[in-house]
């Protein structure tokens, strides 16, 4: 059934023997395969690697947008009673900063890694549903457009060219301005304008994107593993992808329904959260955090996965306690559904509920701690190389630990009564988000970009990225612990002199610029790598997992022949393990490699969300004919899905071995 090959990858680097021609789909239209136009090729691609790269590029863009928003926020707060920007603009900025960073930067960055790596790590040709994957990407883009469209209207409003009429007449806040968790009733139509509608529609679309992507990845990981790739042989990153995808599948419905209820409140006059009609605003908080807390783990588990790949590689040792790391990840995911009310300790839950959620929150610290112990255990007795990815991974462990400790402080509900909604909380979750997630993601970028681009990093700029971002992050956020404990509430656009907050705020602002410089250097480094990196080779880091067994960048079909996995850390065992642990490859069956056809339809269907979302939101702002635009959007989605179903999956065969 299989042959043992000496090289770890059958030589498949050659050019295609003959030019492939696109075929007609069941619709009679030409499929966009083998397009000479790069743009058409990327727009219609179903290749998980290209989709991953696009996720990554767009996410990095939004990371910079969110970072810019943060810089304006920090500049405004540098001095007491500063009036650089108005209260309304400030509120819009912090709302969009949070929304952008969570939904448009970190989640898609994670999705970028999922997309690029998971099929490679499990030895699959692609994800289970390549066209759904393309749909998820473009739906994400549609959601990002809708949620940010308010900036355009706000600019027009500032220039005096637009003002709201209709249901939200007189309310000229077109950019969301109610905080990223949008606590009712401030999201009601008496308090906020069309910005809230953009936010509702945008998040709803992003939810569709996340749900479809998550289901796709669960199916991929469960069904598409190469032979021998048992569950307990999967790389930890793939495991974390699986846990995160399941979290998305079960957590997102809560916010989808909450958003639908909110939309009905605003558009059809229902009373889900409207006090006048008997609605209970507290219900929103429960629904939001039933989604929102798992969301925290949706953000952080992939980071843990990345670090669990990087640390063993650069310690030349297997991950300490693989099974326990995987299991604790799953436990974190499961417990993540049981701690949502710790975001609500100050809402008057009652003694028993407060106590229960307090204890459960402490309990979730245990599996998190277990991961840290295991990472330290991985380093112990290893041979630690300080390569770029490792520096960030080591930084992650340290910073994440600090974020975790302030988390334990929150878990004690009475102590949290002083910390809740103060800068202490800001410090906590930025240590987790930047010190944790961001550093891990950068570590992942340094680790895998050579695989993605096939080019190696130039020089040691990474050190300076690490220096500036780590120093910047600590200078920005460490003083915030004190700001919070000295009584500064979050989300205040300015503050009075004389409360002892001036020095801390100024230091924070300076720190944020240092951090920004670090991120700027990262972008420079990525561009340098992209433009003039030397060829990386298949396995530049002496790495452990399957993705390094194929070429850099991987061919469109990933593996010329399907690998047969003998052990966990397959490539490491292949290189350094005993003879019987070599990776083998399935024999060529002569059919060639079946590739899925590219398609316009997922993109058409998902971009239909743009007119739908914008139409419904602009209708609220009183713009004429927007109802028709929304209906057009709905029609576009239906048409896209229908044509998608009818055109058939198609597919073609590649014969990489022929040219050998």
């Amino acid at each position: 059934m299989s042959t043992v090959t000496e090289t770890h990858e059958p030589s498949t680097h050659s050019k295609e023997p003959h030019v492939l021609k696109p075929e007609r789909s069941n619709l009679g239209l030409m499929r966009p395969d083998h397009s000479k136009s790069v743009i058409i090729d990327w727009l219609t691609t179903v290749d998980h690697k290209k989709i991953g790269i696009m996720y990554g590029a767009i996410a990095l863009f939004f990371l910079l947008v969110g970072g810019l928003e943060a810089l304006i926020i920090r500049t405004q707060l540098a001095f007491p009673e500063n009036d650089l920007i108005s209260a309304q603009r400030y509120n819009q900025l912090f709302t969009m900063h949070g929304t952008t960073m969570i939904f448009l930067a970190i989640m898609p960055l994670n999705a970028a890694f999922f997309n690029f790596l998971v099929p490679l790590q499990i030895g699959a040709r692609d994800v289970a549903f390549p066209r759904i994957n393309s749909f998820s990407l473009w739906a994400f883009v549609a959601g990002a457009l809708v949620i940010n469209f308010g900036w355009v209207l706000q600019a027009l409003e500032v220039m005096g060219l637009f003002s709201a009429s209709g249901p939200t007449a007189g309310m000229n806040d077109f950019v969301p301005s109610m905080g990223w968790f949008g606590y009712a009733p401030i999201t009601g139509k008496e308090f906020t304008g069309a910005g809230t509608d953009f936010w509702i529609m945008g998040l709803q679309i992003l939810g569709v994107a996340s749900l479809s992507a998550a289901m796709n990845f669960v199916v991929t990981i469960i069904n598409m593993r190469a032979p021998g790739m048992k569950m307990m042989r999967m790389p930890v990153f793939t495991w974390m992808t699986l846990v995160v995808s399941l979290l998305i599948v079960f957590a997102f419905p809560a916010i989808t329904i909450a958003l639908a209820q909110l939309m009905f409140d605003r558009v059809f006059g229902t009373s889900f959260f409207v006090t006048a009609g008997g609605g209970q605003p507290i219900l929103w908080q429960h629904l939001f955090w039933i989604f929102g807390h798992p969301e925290v783990y949706i953000l952080v588990l992939p980071a843990m996965g990345i670090v669990s790949e990087v640390l063993p590689t650069f310690s030349k040792k297997p991950l300490f306690g693989y099974a326990i790391v995987v299991f604790s990840g799953a436990v974190i995911g499961f417990l993540g559904f049981a701690v949502w009310s710790h975001h609500m300790f100050t809402t008057g839950l009652g003694k028993v509920a407060t106590a229960a959620f307090s204890l459960l929150t402490m309990a979730i610290a245990v599996p998190t701690g277990v991961k840290i112990f295991n990472w330290v255990g991985t380093l112990w007795g290893g041979r630690v190389r300080f390569s770029a990815p490792m520096i960030f991974a080591l930084g992650f462990v340290w910073m994440f630990m600090m974020g975790g400790f302030s988390g334990i402080m929150h878990s004690s509900a009475p102590a949290d009564a002083q910390q809740q909604d103060s800068y202490f909380v800001i410090a906590h979750f930025h240590y987790v988000a930047i010190g944790g997630i961001f550093l891990a993601v950068v570590s992942g970028i340094y680790f895998w970009l050579p695989k993605i681009l096939g080019k190696m990093w130039k020089g040691n700029l990474s050190i300076w990225v690490a220096v500036f971002s780590t120093i910047g992050l600590n200078v920005t956020f460490f003083p915030m612990h004190f700001l919070g404990l000295l009584g500064m509430p979050r989300r205040t656009h300015t503050y009075l002199e004389g409360f002892g907050w001036e020095t801390y705020n100024l230091v924070c602002t300076i720190g944020s610029y240092i951090l920004a410089f670090g991120i700027f250097l990262l972008v420079v480094d990525i561009i340098r790598c992209f433009r003039s990196g030397e060829p990386a080779g298949d396995d530049p880091w002496d790495a452990r997992t399957l993705e390094w067994a194929t070429t850099s960048p991987p061919q469109v079909y990933n593996f010329g022949r399907t690998p047969i996995i003998p052990a966990r850390d397959a490539l490491w065992e292949h290189k350094h393990g005993p003879e019987n642990r070599r990776i083998q490859y399935e024999e060529d069956d002569g059919h060639g490699i079946h590739m899925p056809s590219q398609s316009w339809m997922p993109m058409i269907a998902s971009l239909g969300f743009v007119p739908l979302g914008l139409g419904l939101s602009l209708m609220q702002a009183g713009v004429a004919f927007m109802g028709y635009v929304a209906i057009f959007g709905l029609f576009m989605i239906a048409l896209g899905v229908a044509l998608w179903a009818i055109e058939g999956p198609g597919g073609y065969h590649l014969h990489p071995e022929e040219a050998k």
């Binding site: 309304q88 509120n91 009733p185 401030i186 308090f191 605003p281 507290i282 310690s315 300490f320 306690g321 693989y322 326990i324 100050t346 809402t347 008057g348 003694k351 106590a355 402490m362 610290a365 701690g369 277990v370 295991n374 330290v376 380093l379 007795g381 290893g382 630690v384 300080f386 520096i391 462990v397 630990m401 600090m402 400790f405 334990i408 004690s412 009475p414 102590a415 009564a417 002083q418 809740q420 909604d421 050190i463 120093i471 600590n474 200078v475 460490f478 003083p479 004190f482 404990l485 000295l486 009584g487 509430p489 989300r491 205040t492 656009h493 009075l496 002892g500 020095t503 801390y504 350094h576």
Partner: protein, 440 residues
């Protein structure tokens, strides 16, 4: 490479040292809203709990962080290291179980006092000293009230606070007055969006959620037993009581700062409040003056003043009368504001202005007119009133005093030409400010 890493770690430690300097050396932790400088059993319990978490996590940090740094340094790759592969250990279940057990144990150290504190801070204690009947020296109370602790109904508005004292029949705004050493029960309500009541030196926050009846209790300073237990003071009953009173006067009587802690819209940052903690007698005096309110300018009874105002307003002259006329008339202030004693100033949409001239701040704590010793400064007060009336929308964007369906001070119409907007003139504002200053 190694050199750079070395430089990196040096830079890192330098910056940490700098941070520590900023954190511990450079700044004072006893500030106006510090959660470290606590004055009351609740904030104290919360601080103790916080410090416990700091010590426990600090301990874990030292141990785990120490091992971590040790491992990174000890097991770093050395330049001329030609030894074979490190041992490929996959983990050790015993170590794992031990560490899990240790973490659980450390968490229990936090969990037990947490549970105690949740119970302690949740229910308003009904101790003898706090019962209104046992300390309140003002007018007669209802029998029910005598057996209760003082209740204050805190109502959040965008962006100010109403403090109602239902047992005492008074109502004030933005600056509450509470007795030292007594438990006070707060009923927290909101009329619009969610707000959060936070008085850091006295108690952590609880939210004011529309459609929901929240409650909390606060207490400025310890009650006698707790104080005696803590200080361990000895002596005769009388001497102890005197020492306790000195403690209250010197350490607890003060002007405390609070702020809304839940984002509540445009001017969330400008929704502050104050709590003045006073002795029992002073409290009773304050209640009396709040309940009595104010006479018309120059000590005239209101019915007399209104007779003159209705028949011949020009007969009312002088700064305060001019101001009162704007207040009752063109300024339309009484549509939203109440002033005790004044039979026509009965508005309920805005803050009650009884004794507003005595308050040390206006505009929900944003415009302050007091010096370091919390003594009122009349000049500054005048300036603040003028600024607030003139630039309401600048001081607090989006607030209802400026624009509210045609009733705002920014929407005042010209009496001569009702189609035109005519704001208050500088002269009118001058008189109004003087009149408001006189409300004390």
């Amino acid at each position: 490479m190694k050199k750079i890493t070395h430089g990196f770690s040096r830079l890192l430690s330098l910056s940490f040292a700098l941070l520590a300097l900023v954190a511990f050396g450079g700044c004072d932790l006893n500030t106006k809203m510090s959660t470290f400088d606590v004055k009351g059993p609740i904030a104290e319990t919360q601080l103790d709990l916080f410090m416990l978490t700091v010590w426990v996590t600090g301990f874990i940090f030292l141990v785990v962080g120490g091992v971590y740094v040790f491992a990174v340094i000890k097991f770093r790759e050395k330049p001329n290291d030609n030894s074979p592969m490190p041992s490929q250990g996959h983990g050790n279940p015993l170590v794992e179980i031990g560490l899990i057990g240790a973490s659980v144990l450390l968490l229990v150290i936090i969990a037990v006092p947490t549970l105690q504190a949740i119970w302690y801070t949740h229910d308003t204690p009904l101790n003898e000293q706090s019962k209104l009947g046992n300390w309140y020296t003002g007018d007669e109370l209802s029998e029910d009230a005598e057996e209760e602790v003082l209740v204050i109904r805190v109502i959040g508005y965008q962006w100010w606070w109403e403090f109602e004292y239902p047992q005492l029949g008074i109502n004030t705004a933005n600056e509450m007055v509470i007795p030292a050493g007594k438990a006070v029960h707060l009923e927290l309500r909101s009329v619009d969006v969610i707000h959060s009541f936070w008085l850091p030196r006295i108690a952590g926050k609880v939210d004011l959620i529309p459609g929901r009846a929240n409650a909390m209790w606060i207490q400025a300073g310890d009650n006698f037993e707790r104080w005696a237990e803590k200080t361990g003071a000895d002596g005769s009953e009388l001497a102890l009581q005197a020492a306790y009173n000195t403690y209250l006067e010197e350490e607890i009587h003060d002007y405390y700062y609070g702020q809304c802690a839940e984002y509540c819209g445009d001017s969330h940052a400008r929704m502050l409040f104050r709590a003045t903690v006073v002795g029992d007698d002073e409290f009773a005096e304050w209640v009396k003056s709040e309940a009595e309110g104010h006479t018309a300018p120059e000590g005239k009874p209101w019915d007399e003043w209104y007779k003159a105002y209705d028949s011949n307003p020009d007969s009312l002259t002088g700064d305060l009368n001019e101001g009162a006329k704007v207040f009752m008339g063109r300024g339309k202030c009484i549509a939203c504001h109440s002033v005790e004693g004044n039979p026509r100033a009965l508005g309920v949409a805005g803050p009650n202005l009884t004794n507003v001239g005595e308050r040390l701040s206006i505009a929900a704590g944003w415009l302050n007119h007091h010096d370091e010793e919390d003594v009122l400064q009349a000049d500054k007060q005048y300036e603040n009133f003028v600024k607030w009336i003139k630039e309401t929308d600048v001081v607090k964007p989006g607030n209802l005093m400026w624009k509210s369906n045609g009733n705002g001070i920014g929407e005042l119409l010209d009496p001569e030409d009702p189609d035109k907007i005519k704001l208050l003139t500088d002269e009118e504002i001058h008189y109004l400010a003087l009149y408001l200053q006189s409300l004390k």
